[in-house]
């Protein structure tokens, strides 16, 4: 069952008035439950594609259909709603809210959904327990290692049970052992919870674990 489809996607940036083609004629369909890695060298357009699929950016041309709906024509507020309810994001630099503790970071997106305080805490703690980070509950990001922060970021991304998680270079700042553990965890989430994962990465460890690999080069799909 198709979860997301990119159709004739083109993205052109203006760099000091000079148009730069970041993506050209991208056509890709991803089904529910897939574990996909978008790979390619730096500047190939991996992150740009991920941002378009995640409704964070709009294409210059083409369409993105999420669960059958064209999200390129939706308003800002509608896109926020989709991101909140259906999507999870994991960033290279973790991007946790520095003034919130680990559990509060995880609770935050549930708070945006209007889930009551007690229920939020219970859900967050249960997920943290599942991910083996319960002992970090009251620690702030600056008191955690990179790997710990990225695990909290994973918990934040999946706590609202999204249909799709987009992970942009999630292991780039981690050592190989920590990265391996994190990938184990996400694979497990993919298998257990049937969450669709789309990674952008040039990390060999990530690419090796891909169940489907999309290779980008110079803004075009070279292989999928």
């Amino acid at each position: 069952m198709e979860i997301i489809k990119a159709q004739n996607l083109v993205k052109i940036y203006q760099d000091n008035g000079v148009p730069v083609k970041a993506l050209q004629n991208i056509n890709v369909t991803i089904d529910k439950g897939e574990y996909v890695v978008i790979a390619g060298p730096s500047g190939s357009g991996k992150t740009t594609l991920l941002n378009l699929l995640g409704a964070l950016d709009k294409p210059t041309e083409g369409k993105v259909y999420f669960e059958g709906e064209d999200i390129t024509v939706k308003e800002k507020s509608e896109l926020s709603k989709i991101r909140l309810h259906k999507l999870g994001f994991i960033f290279q630099a973790y991007n946790l809210i520095p003034v919130l503790t680990a559990i509060e970071n995880i609770e935050f997106s549930m708070m945006l959904l209007g889930i009551p305080d007690k229920e939020r805490k219970e859900k967050a703690l249960s997920l943290m327990d599942e991910l083996g980070i319960k002992e970090l509950a009251n620690k702030r990001p600056n008191e955690m290692s990179g790997g710990q922060q990225q695990r909290v970021a994973v918990a934040r991304a999946i706590v609202n049970k999204p249909s799709l998680v987009l992970a942009d270079e999630p292991t780039a700042n981690l050592d190989s052992v920590t990265a391996g553990h994190l990938l184990d965890l996400m694979e497990q989430m993919n298998l257990d919870k049937n969450i669709t994962f789309i990674f952008s990465s040039h990390d060999k460890q990530v690419i090796d674990r891909a169940k489907r690999l999309i290779i980008l080069k110079d803004g075009r799909i070279e292989n999928q």
């Binding site: 964070l56 950016d57 960033f91 991007n95 935050f108 708070m111």
Partner: protein, 404 residues
């Protein structure tokens, strides 16, 4: 949680937040102090006038206030007394004989207003007895007179000296009488001290040839806020032959001044608020620009613009609220002791006494103005955050996340 986040965001940069807090605190303390001082000064001007000679209400023969001549005495003062005695709202009253005179000493003379009073009655409605600085207050003796310090200085007289008063009488002649100064008073109004003299009513009645009649009833009520309703009652009971004035009718300029003061306080609040707004805009803008990347993440995880906007406004509101509360406490801590001890402004004594204020000002806080300031400051803080918050929600998530 949004409030919690806003609270913690405030303390990310403690120094900056404390500077904003201090500016709000200083602003509010200034408002509380200025309000207390100005309000105190205005009330002192009003109450000094009331306690000198104006009182809360005055009753005269109709037309007396616009033509203060000897023959305009009260037609039937006993009727007025009956009306006043029957009203429980009347605390005290004093019957006065009134005449403009020339008072002469051996070396000088001066135009004055002579009040003929019953010393015991007058002591209940004015502060003259308590303002004696040399000699004593009037007894029932006919030949006694008390005069103000300024007048005594002008005439070159002292307690024990003789003075002669001259005035028109009822039949158009010039009446005169000699009095011995038995007391010198000094009030908060140098003008009053230059112009007013007090003798026994019977002495003045005799000098003016008006029998046992009086020109004025000066009335102190139990609650000065009820003067208008009392005026209406007295007018209806006494009829057209009499005129009844409240202190507001007698002191219109002072009442206007008090109204003007309220408006000028509002303008002052707005000026302080404007100065604060720019400080808050600057701080909040810095705070927003420092967190652009974070706002991008918040948008990416699905935070609506409205909530992001609200979070930034909360931050400003919390700063404004805390600054207000601390400023209020600081202002009150300064104001309350000063309300008891007063602020000695002796260096401006001449000017203040000319306005009938007195050299020591006792600040009085007006609850209404305080409430306005307490509501105004957090509002100003939120106003100052509107533009930075708008800048934040106008960010595109992708630009914000990649912002360096």
């Amino acid at each position: 949680m949004l409030l919690k986040l806003a609270w913690r965001n405030i303390w990310r940069n403690k120094r900056r937040s404390i500077i904003v807090l201090i500016s709000v605190i200083v602003g509010l303390t200034a408002i509380v102090l200025t309000d207390g001082l100005s309000n105190g000064m205005m009330r002192q001007m009003l109450f000094n006038q009331i306690n000198l000679d104006v009182s809360h209400l005055q009753i005269h023969k109709a037309g007396f206030n616009s033509n203060k001549i000897v023959k305009n005495f009260i037609p039937n003062y006993k009727q007025v007394e009956t009306v006043l005695r029957s009203n429980p709202e009347v605390e005290a009253y004093s019957k006065r004989v009134f005449a403009t005179c020339i008072l002469s000493s051996a070396s000088n003379s001066s135009g004055v207003i002579m009040y003929g009073i019953d010393p015991a009655e007058e002591a209940k409605v004015s502060i003259i007895r308590n303002s004696i600085i040399e000699g004593r207050y009037l007894s029932t003796s006919k030949r006694e007179i008390i005069i103000g310090k300024k007048l005594a200085d002008k005439l070159g007289v002292d307690v024990g000296d003789k003075v002669v008063a001259m005035s028109n009488t009822l039949n158009g002649d010039i009446g005169s009488d000699a009095f011995r100064i038995i007391g010198i008073f000094q009030t908060s109004s140098s003008e009053f001290d230059k112009m007013a003299i007090y003798v026994n009513a019977s002495a003045e009645q005799e000098m003016l040839g008006i029998g046992d009649n009086y020109h004025e009833f000066a009335i102190i009520t139990k609650d000065y806020n009820k003067v208008t309703s009392l005026k209406n009652i007295f007018e209806s009971k006494l009829g057209e032959k009499y005129e009844v004035y409240t202190y507001r009718d007698i002191l219109p300029m002072l009442i206007y001044q008090m109204e003007l003061y309220k408006e000028s306080m509002m303008i002052l609040n707005i000026i302080i608020g404007l100065a604060l707004i720019f400080g808050i805009i600057n701080t909040m803008l810095m705070s927003v620009f420092e967190r652009i990347r974070e706002f991008g993440v918040l948008m990416a995880i699905g935070m609506k613009n409205s909530k992001l906007y609200l979070m930034i406004l909360f931050e400003a509101f919390i700063l404004g609220l805390f600054g207000t509360l601390i400023g209020l406490v600081c202002g009150l801590l300064l104001d309350i002791p000063l309300a008891h001890s007063g602020i000695d402004l002796s260096i401006f004594a001449t000017g203040l006494e000319a306005f009938g204020v007195g050299a020591i000002i006792y600040p009085v806080l007006s609850i209404g103005n305080l409430i306005n300031a307490v509501l105004f400051m957090p509002f100003v803080a939120v106003l100052g955050a509107l533009y930075p918050a708008y800048k934040a929600i106008k960010l595109e998530p992708i630009y914000a996340i990649n912002y360096v």
